[in-house]
């Protein structure tokens, strides 16, 4: 029973607005590790429970039949030792695949420290595998997750990546070769638990895509569940905007042809919270704008704030049939709110567009930062950001 759709299907959205597509469970929350930020750390006094492989398989099948879920996302605390944990997970997945003939999607977490033979067996049962990097530097890991090390995370990651490569050549040679992690591997990073900068995180992310061929890197804003002098205070709000900016940058890396070093550097190691990364890049590179819609290359169109992958594609298609003006852009569904400041159609800027400092920066800024007075913002945020004068200079000098 079952299949998997290529782009994935969201089956519901939880109250926090996140997509629910998989039954995301722990095999057990018993854990011998003592990561400071985790609620299931060994030293925490919390009720412990575990699924038997049979229970888990039945639950998954019954949810799947009712179309509640797209598949299973199986992770686990480390019970007894990494190898035992991995064996339990393999048992559950074997039941699902071989006894229940489940062909749906399975995402499994590789347990750090488990034997490579076990990781390989898991990989042959699952569609996707992931190992969480958790913290972006060796130093932070040593402080907060003493049982994990850079080595214990990157070694299995490298193993999976090599196996995927090997499997690809095998599949070409033998049609019936069993598929190893066909949906690739991913990882997750915690943002805001340690002082690591966005620059560090983004460079690491880029490296993971390039070196290990990861499908996705996920960012998770740190939400305090434990009190520890090494961690941010328990009442710290999760840095949601920062997480959002990282995801925006992640998209720029994967779909827009940007490189990490274009977005951030040592001097500006963190994202501007008020302006999205693409807009920020554009404002710092005003010499490349305005862009002529009727002539610009696909790569350049993708770099215009407000123009996305779909809009760029539509522009390319539509301009084969004649020149485009601002009215036709609207018909194509291109949102001009931000784009208008960076483009021309047949050499002209949009009719009636006034470039004044206040209105411009207001439009370019994200909604959540639109406060009644600009002065107020100066006091609220002390991170470096682009000043009103800078924007004015950029825009008036160029357009």
């Amino acid at each position: 029973m079952g299949n998997a759709a290529k782009a994935g299907i969201c089956h519901s959205f939880s109250a926090d607005g996140r997509c629910i597509s998989l039954l995301k469970v722990l095999m057990t929350n018993v854990c011998v590790f003592d990561c400071k930020y985790c609620i299931n750390r060994e030293s925490n006094d919390t009720p412990r429970a575990a699924f038997t492989p049979q229970e888990l398989a039945e639950l998954t099948i019954n949810f799947y039949r009712r179309n509640y879920i797209e598949g299973l996302f199986l992770s686990s605390g480390v019970i007894k030792n990494p190898n035992y944990t991995a064996e339990q997970m393999i048992k559950a997945l074997e039941l699902l695949r071989n006894v229940y003939h489940f062909n749906g999607y399975i995402h499994v977490k590789a347990i750090p420290g488990a034997d490579s033979e076990l990781i390989t067996r898991l990989g042959l049962l699952a569609d996707r595998m992931s190992i969480n990097i958790e913290l972006p530097s060796q130093e932070s890991l040593r402080l907060l997750a003493p049982s994990k090390s850079k080595e214990s995370i990157l070694r299995p990651m490298g193993l999976i990546s090599t196996k995927i490569q090997e499997n690809r050549t095998d599949l070409v040679k033998y049609r019936h070769a069993s598929r190893f992690v066909p949906a690739g591997q991913s990882t997750q990073l915690i943002v805001g638990a340690t002082p690591d900068t966005d620059h560090k995180i983004l460079t690491l992310t880029e490296g993971l895509y390039k070196k290990y061929g990861l499908k996705r890197v996920f960012f998770s804003a740190y939400m305090p569940v434990a009190e520890n002098s090494l961690l941010p205070a328990i009442d710290t709000k999760p840095p949601l905007i920062r997480e959002h900016r990282l995801y925006q940058a992640d998209w720029l890396l994967r779909f827009y042809g940007f490189e990490a070093k274009e977005l951030l550097d040592e001097q500006n190691p963190n994202f501007n919270l008020q302006v999205d990364p693409k807009c920020n890049w554009a404002l710092n590179n005003m010499d490349k704008f305005p862009v002529e819609i009727n002539r610009a290359s696909h790569e350049m169109l993708l770099r215009v704030p407000g123009i996305g992958v779909i809009s760029a594609q539509r522009i390319i298609t539509a301009r084969r049939n004649g020149t485009l003006d601002f009215t036709s852009l609207k018909k194509l569904g291109v949102v001009l709110k931000r784009a208008q400041y960076f483009i021309t159609c047949q050499g002209k800027i949009m009719e009636g567009l006034k470039i004044t400092s206040d209105s411009t920066i207001r439009t370019l800024m994200s909604d959540q930062y639109k406060l009644p007075s600009y002065q107020e913002q100066l006091r609220l945020f002390d991170e470096p950001f682009i000043s009103r004068e800078e924007v004015q200079q950029c825009l008036t000098a160029q357009i």
């Binding site: 029973m1 299907i9 996140r18």
Partner: protein
């Protein structure tokens, strides 16, 4: 409107019928300002012209689309017919007239009013059907899976392949309340059948248990510190909530009886179709 007349076509509401309208429009060299399906009330000002459905004429028009325009255009027209766009018939006619004139290029004329509107309507259809792939909730009654949906567009033909592949060995039914049609799949055959009404039997304890477990999972997975109702509503508008287990208050569980009127349309890759006008379709109650 193309030539300023107030000519109105009426047709039988089928896709073949619409293709005949296109045929008629070419044969008589005329452009209607409205093409009316039987469900729309006639107004006193209409000078309505009845277009008889003739499968030969329909085939001629339909088969010429990939030759004269492109197969993508044929697909667009087919999908366009399933949308809830009010003037879909007229849009399709104008799209085809334009297409027959300029050829395959019509698919890239994204700034043209007609092409743009038709593609927008089709996007609405495909995105709705994609949403339903996730948001449909089945309940298990005996051996059969039953789901109810209330879509705006006629999405069942688009959902059929996905669910038939997913639940190959199951028996299932998806009932479209808006259009009073059900997709019924059993023993490797799928059919679209007109259904007048549907009442479901009481759920058994296993079904109730899994519903409860799902609700519990749904409520647990949300992180309190990140609550964002607006984001949830954008991604999953409230009109879908009615039929979703996680928002269900266990009120819609009654006896079930399905009145089957007639076979409406067979699924494309399905061979055998029967039109049994008075079958009563019984779902195994518990």
């Amino acid at each position: 409107m193309l030539d300023g007349t107030d000519l109105v076509y009426s047709y039988d509401g089928t896709f073949e019928g619409l293709m005949c309208c296109v045929f008629e429009s070419y044969e008589c060299k005329e452009s209607p300002c409205l093409i009316r399906p039987p469900s729309v009330q006639q107004t006193i000002f209409d000078t309505s012209k009845w277009i008889e459905t003739d499968s030969q004429k329909a085939d001629r028009v339909y088969n010429s689309i990939p030759v004269k325009i492109s197969s993508e255009a044929q697909e667009l027209v087919k999908l366009g017919f399933l949308t809830c766009e009010e003037n879909k018939e007229l849009l399709i006619l104008r799209f085809l007239r334009l297409g027959f004139k300029v050829g395959g290029k019509v698919m890239t004329m994204l700034t043209d009013e007609v092409v743009c509107s038709l593609q927008k309507a089709v996007r609405h259809l495909t995105s709705e059907s994609h949403k339903f792939k996730g948001f449909i909730r089945f309940s298990v009654f005996g051996e059969a899976l039953v789901a109810v949906i209330e879509p705006k567009n006629y999405v069942l033909p688009l959902l059929s392949a996905h669910f038939c592949d997913r639940y190959k060995v199951e028996k299932f039914m998806i009932y479209d309340k808006t259009h009073s049609v059900a997709l019924i799949y059993q023993s490797n055959r799928a059919e679209l059948i007109e259904v007048e009404g549907l009442t479901l039997p009481n759920v058994d304890s296993t079904e109730a248990k899994y519903r409860l477990l799902w609700k519990q999972f749904y409520n647990t997975i949300a992180i309190e510190g990140r609550t964002n109702p607006r984001c949830r509503m954008t991604l999953m508008p409230k009109r879908y909530w009615n039929q979703m287990t996680e928002f269900d208050n266990m009120s819609d569980l009654f006896q079930i009886q399905v009145q089957v009127a007639e076979t409406k349309q067979a699924i494309p890759n399905d061979i055998n179709k029967t039109a049994d006008k008075t079958t009563r379709y019984q779902i195994q109650g518990s």
